[in-house]
């Protein structure tokens, strides 16, 4: 088989799996789980194979055509796609295996695993897409899978609401995304990524600030940036493995992947907007995370914050690098934003999936308790979860020489080199990240158990622990790009690297912020059943809570008080004005033809037949020329 047919196979396989489950395995949850997990295993295997076989290709097949307008189903497999494919494959496999244990007793297991398969299909479509229309198609489809999986426990009102909110918030983003694609199509005559890049090199690309900003709307929705971030914390209503896969590692990162794909279309003004959106999201979400008591909500806000980091990194843009070559200085411009964002996306996918699955393990062990103030002391009872989770925490707070350390430093350096205020805000965010992460870690695992559930907690089976171990290993090593096979060099060569004094400054900064945040978090919060911050600094606590609730409050107000009332008003207007006045008017109009409207009330067959006959007779008269116009 050629590499292309491997790619096609990888894309189609999960769709077939989902179709089989939907058609035949609705009542056979066990078999459905096996089918879906085997599929995920095959995807992971072939993904790694595809990435390692250093073969890159593009190929497209026409999907539909009207005149000159054609949409193709295409594969653009470069280093960027290869990297994303491997992430999706590995995290997907871990989550499938974890789900085998976590969802073992679920009544609707078949629907769950069918949903995972359809998600894998949609996500792989985004990874492979060689044009923006195709990306949009799969973009909407991941939204659909996310909707189905958030709504898995649909008998809960909260799950139903959350799934709806996620889909609608994403649609708001997709509104802009679609406009951007259509605009790009008419301005540049193509939305094929390779052709756009070629036009960029040939300097024939038509730029407009609107195109990248419209396209960015899609990323704002999917990657949950301000002000559309509100759906992601609510999406935690879905089963925890889903949160790990979709709402931490892969789908929400698709926005960053998409931005990297359309880097050629970027203009400075758009990048500035993107940079500030990302920075604001990073800081805002970190502030929100501090007051959360639900283990998954802390991780959700942390995800928002890290996604903000990636978006900010992308928005910081490219870096010019001057080399001495044979005594002559050479300046090259590298797309450092792409490198830094994708690097952080990679490491984050592993350590955040690890922590989400770790929280799943905790929730499973504590009989579905999610409140960290009712946990504590899990270190002794769930040692493997504890140690792997600890690696995840260490990685995200930038503990030296773990995965997050390298990728976060790359972003901080880029910010340092390009924009000081952003650098300061991102450094502050890093302090907060260490703070709330250590708080979470301490309250969950250290101290004494604060509830019966916690004191009877137990480690899950192999299906729960194996994925944790694999992801923990990746969280340890994923930062060493030098050890990565050369296959991802197209991305990793773009990572900004600090030299000499810059290197020292960044190293000290990142170490400093980590130590300040972590030690404050560790010493300030006590292992008590109530939040220490709420006890000691109630003013700050409620201010942070209010900050968190502000967006939801505004949107709820808009939906309930403005949108709904407006809809009712327009509806009323329609009933009274249009239906009332115009239908009367029309009846009168018909009356002019000498066919009194009252005849219509008769409602018997004859009346209708007369109407019909009249039409025929009229036609006949006109046609034969008895009556002429």
């Amino acid at each position: 088989m050629t590499m292309l047919s491997h790619a096609i196979f990888v894309l189609i396989l999960p769709l077939v799996s989902a179709a089989i489950i939907a058609l035949f395995l609705r009542r056979a949850g066990g078999i459905a789980a096996a089918v879906s997990t085997l599929t995920a295993t095959a995807i992971a295997g072939i993904s790694v194979l595809l990435a390692l076989r250093n073969e890159r290709f593009t190929e497209s097949f026409e999907w539909m055509r009207f005149g000159d307008f054609a949409i193709s189903l295409g594969f653009k497999f470069d280093d960027l796609a290869a990297l994303m494919l491997v992430i999706v494959g590995i995290v997907g496999l871990c989550v499938h295996v974890f789900s085998l244990g976590y969802m073992h007793d679920d009544a609707a297991k078949a629907r769950y695993f069918g949903g995972l398969s359809i998600f894998m299909f949609s996500m792989l479509g985004i990874v492979f897409a060689d044009n923006l229309f195709m990306m949009f198609i799969f973009w909407e489809l991941v939204g659909f899978s996310s909707y189905v999986l958030i709504n898995h426990w649909h008998e809960k009102q909260s799950a139903s609401d959350a799934s709806k909110k996620a889909f609608i918030a994403n649609r708001v983003g997709d509104f802009g995304f679609l406009l951007g694609i259509v605009m790009c199509y008419w301005l540049n005559g193509t939305v094929n990524l390779t052709e756009l890049a070629a036009k960029g090199e040939a300097h024939t690309l038509v730029f407009s600030t609107l195109i990248p900003l419209f396209l960015f709307c899609g990323a704002v929705g999917k990657s949950a940036q301000l002000p559309l971030h509100v759906w992601l914390p609510d999406a935690m209503e879905g089963p925890t493995p889903v949160s790990a896969l979709i709402h931490a590692a892969t789908m929400v990162a698709a926005g960053i992947y998409m931005l990297c794909r359309i880097n050629v279309l970027m203009v400075p003004d758009a990048l500035t907007v993107i940079m500030w959106t990302g920075t604001a999201t990073a800081l805002y979400a970190a502030l929100c995370a501090i007051t959360q008591s639900d283990i998954k909500k802390v991780l959700a806000y942390s995800t928002l914050s890290q996604l903000g980091y990636m978006v900010a990194a992308f928005g910081l843009g490219s870096l010019s690098d001057t080399h001495q070559h044979d005594g002559v200085p050479h300046t090259i411009i590298i797309a450092a934003g792409v490198g830094a964002a994708m690097f952080h996306l990679t490491t984050h996918a592993f350590f955040k999936a690890l922590m989400f699955l770790g929280s799943g393990s905790v929730i499973h062990g504590c009989h579905h308790e999610q409140d960290i103030f009712k946990m504590g002391g899990l270190r002794m009872r769930m040692p493997l979860t504890f140690w792997t989770f600890t690696i995840g925490v260490a990685a995200i707070i930038g503990f030296p020489y773990l995965a997050g350390f390298f990728s976060k430093d790359a972003i901080l350096y880029l910010a340092y080199a390009k924009n000081t205020p952003v650098f300061a805000l991102l450094a502050l965010t890093a302090v907060l990240t260490s703070l709330y992460m250590v708080r979470l870690w301490k309250l969950t695992f250290l101290g004494e158990p604060r509830s019966d559930h916690a004191s009877h907690a137990h480690e899950g089976g192999l299906t729960l622990t194996l994925p944790l171990v694999l992801l923990a290993v990746l969280s340890l090593v994923a930062g060493y790009t030098a050890f990565y096979p050369k296959v991802f060099s197209g991305v990793f060569d773009l990572i900004p690297v600090a030299h000499d004094t810059d290197h020292t400054i960044i190293f000290i900064t990142s170490l400093g912020v980590m130590i300040v945040g972590a030690s404050t978090g560790y010493t300030f919060w006590k292992s008590t059943p109530t939040d220490t911050l709420a006890d000691k600094l109630p003013g700050l606590f409620s201010a942070l809570s209010a900050l968190r609730a502000s967006f939801d409050g505004a949107y709820d107000y808009y939906v309930a008080k403005i949108q709904q009332r407006f809809a009712l008003f327009v509806n009323f207007f329609e009933q009274i004005f249009l239906a009332g006045l115009i239908v009367r008017g029309l009846a009168g109009f018909v009356g002019l033809f000498g066919l009194g409207a009252r005849a219509l009330h008769v409602g018997n067959l004859n009346a209708y037949v007369y109407w019909f006959l009249l039409g025929i007779v009229m036609l006949w008269l006109f046609a034969t020329g008895v009556v002429t116009l």
Binding site: I168, L179, G615, L619
Partner: protein, 505 residues
């Protein structure tokens, strides 16, 4: 091209009509029901046959295949029963057959009162619908439409739900008015063309050589837009639709909203666009603004406010017709191409939604969404079908509707970016009402009102008799959704072939 020893188009028109006649002549009920399966299935077999063979052979320059002519004694007036399909008629012919089968099967299992008469009317409708899209002759195109329309009024009046007599009256006033005004337009076209023929192929050839004067084109196009616009519920002449569909029995609503309503759009694309290109272009801007502000935005917002499930579907259907008008206004190849796709997709999805709404009603004894909730726990398959149909109708990729909407949006940008932005905003509105209705009916805990109903009648999941017609529609939506070329190839060929005429605007 067709290896059949008979004319598949004539057979698909005649089979339902013949059975209807037999029922009228007193065929016993048992035989009527039994034969009805066949009479609804035959058009589908014929449609699949012509679909399969359509692209297999090269078409003559006028783009029509399966042409046959039957003398009806009116040839002196330039009228004959001239049957044939081009790339635009073919998708709708297939649509009519599929929705007809689904509606027929659903009617048979419904066990409606006076089932025989009900089936007879439905069969007349079905025969008429097959005729509308198989006719090359404008006279018969119109005749078959009337033939299908009249049973609709009667079915609403007799088997309708709440407010049926008012709904039947309103439906009749509006639709008859629309039909008469469009008839006026068609006759003007016949008289003014001077070709002395109702034959579309001959008319097109004649008008290509002798185009009508601009004023004349504008006037005829205006008449057709008004008349056909009423039939397709162009804002603000749409109010018959939600009311009528709310009252109509499910199979009649399926066939009318799904297929018959497309007559107007089909007429605009098949007749007005090639024969009166300048006339339509003249009205394009007012039409687009009416459609985007009225149908898409205002009706979109109104749909959000609906509490009655069937009314909600009716309004959402009016909203989607707005996109169809926008595609026609945008013109070119992409716009009308998108409209043909959307017509087929919308026909399938709205028929599916009406079918499922009735299935829901049988379990909840109400259409009021406030009194439902949590039904998915009892009827997971019904919930899955409904969610799929809803997502299809709000344009999720993977379903046919997406391609139609997408092509229309692309075409529209060239016409007016501002209108495009407004139209795309409708996508958010449809997500709101679509997902909200799915959530209110199926998800969350069940309401007290529903608990009372289900305590008395424990709801059962979708039975196979209900599931089968739904499956036909859903499968077609997915098939086109995943393989749009199956339809876009013939549509594109037909539109490209006449592009010079359409491009003069």
């Amino acid at each position: 091209m067709s290896q059949l020893p008979f004319d598949p188009l004539l057979v698909s028109i005649a089979a339902p009509l013949a059975l209807a006649l037999a029922i009228a002549l007193g065929l016993p009920k048992r035989w009527s029901v039994l034969l009805a399966y066949g009479a609804f299935a035959i058009p589908v077999l014929m449609a699949l046959h012509v679909w399969w063979h359509f692209t297999a052979t090269p078409l003559p320059s006028h783009g029509y295949a399966f042409l046959t002519r039957y003398d009806t004694g009116l040839s002196g007036l330039g009228i004959s029963l001239h049957l044939g399909l081009n790339g635009i008629a073919l998708p709708l012919f297939v649509l009519a057959a599929l929705v007809g089968l689904a509606a027929g099967l659903y009617a048979i299992q419904s066990g409606a009162e006076r089932l025989k008469i009900y089936l007879m009317l439905l069969l007349i409708m079905q025969g008429g619908l097959m005729g509308v899209f198989a006719s090359v002759d404008i006279f018969f195109f119109y005749f078959f439409h009337e033939l299908a329309l009249i049973p609709t009024f009667i079915m609403v009046g007799i088997w309708g739900g709440r407010d049926r007599s008012y709904a039947a009256m309103k439906l009749t006033i509006y639709l008859t008015l629309g039909a008469m005004v469009s008839l006026l337009g068609l006759i003007m076209l016949y008289v003014q063309s001077g070709a002395h023929t109702f034959d579309l192929i001959a008319l097109r050839a004649h008008l290509a050589a002798h185009p009508l004067a601009a004023t004349l084109q504008n006037n005829i196009a205006g008449l057709l837009l008004f008349g056909l616009g009423v039939l397709v519920s162009l804002w603000p002449l749409h109010t018959w639709a939600p009311l009528g569909y709310g009252a109509a029995p499910s199979s009649a609503a399926m066939l009318h909203a799904g297929v018959l309503k497309k007559f107007g759009l089909y007429g605009l694309i098949q007749v007005a666009l090639p024969l009166l290109p300048d006339g339509l272009a003249h009205w394009a801007h007012p039409l687009a603004w009416l459609a985007v502000i009225g149908n898409v935005l205002i009706v979109g917002v109104i749909t959000i406010a609906q509490r009655d499930l069937k009314q909600m579907i009716g309004y959402s259907s009016v909203m989607h017709m707005g996109y169809a008008f926008l595609g026609i206004a945008a013109g070119g190849i992409i716009g009308p191409g998108g409209v043909v796709l959307l017509m087929v997709a919308h026909g399938l999805s709205v028929a599916l939604l009406f079918l499922l709404a009735t299935a829901i009603y049988h379990r909840t004894q109400t259409f009021a969404m406030d009194e439902m909730g949590g039904l998915a726990q009892k009827t997971p398959v019904l919930a899955a079908f409904f969610v799929a149909a809803t997502l299809a109708s709000i344009g999720l990729p993977g379903f046919a509707n997406f391609w139609g909407e997408l092509a229309i949006f692309v075409a529209l940008w060239k016409f007016s970016p501002l209108i495009t932005a407004l139209a795309v905003a409708g996508v958010v509105l449809s997500a709101i009402y679509g997902l909200r209705s799915a959530a209110r009916v199926f998800f969350g805990p069940s309401t007290d009102a529903l608990a009372k109903v289900t305590a008395a009648h424990p709801p059962v999941d979708l039975s196979w008799k209900e599931r089968f017609p739904a499956l036909i529609l859903l499968a077609a939506l997915l098939f086109i959704g995943f393989w749009p070329k199956s339809l876009t190839t013939p549509v594109n060929a037909a539109l490209t072939a006449r592009a010079p005429a359409a491009a003069t605007k």
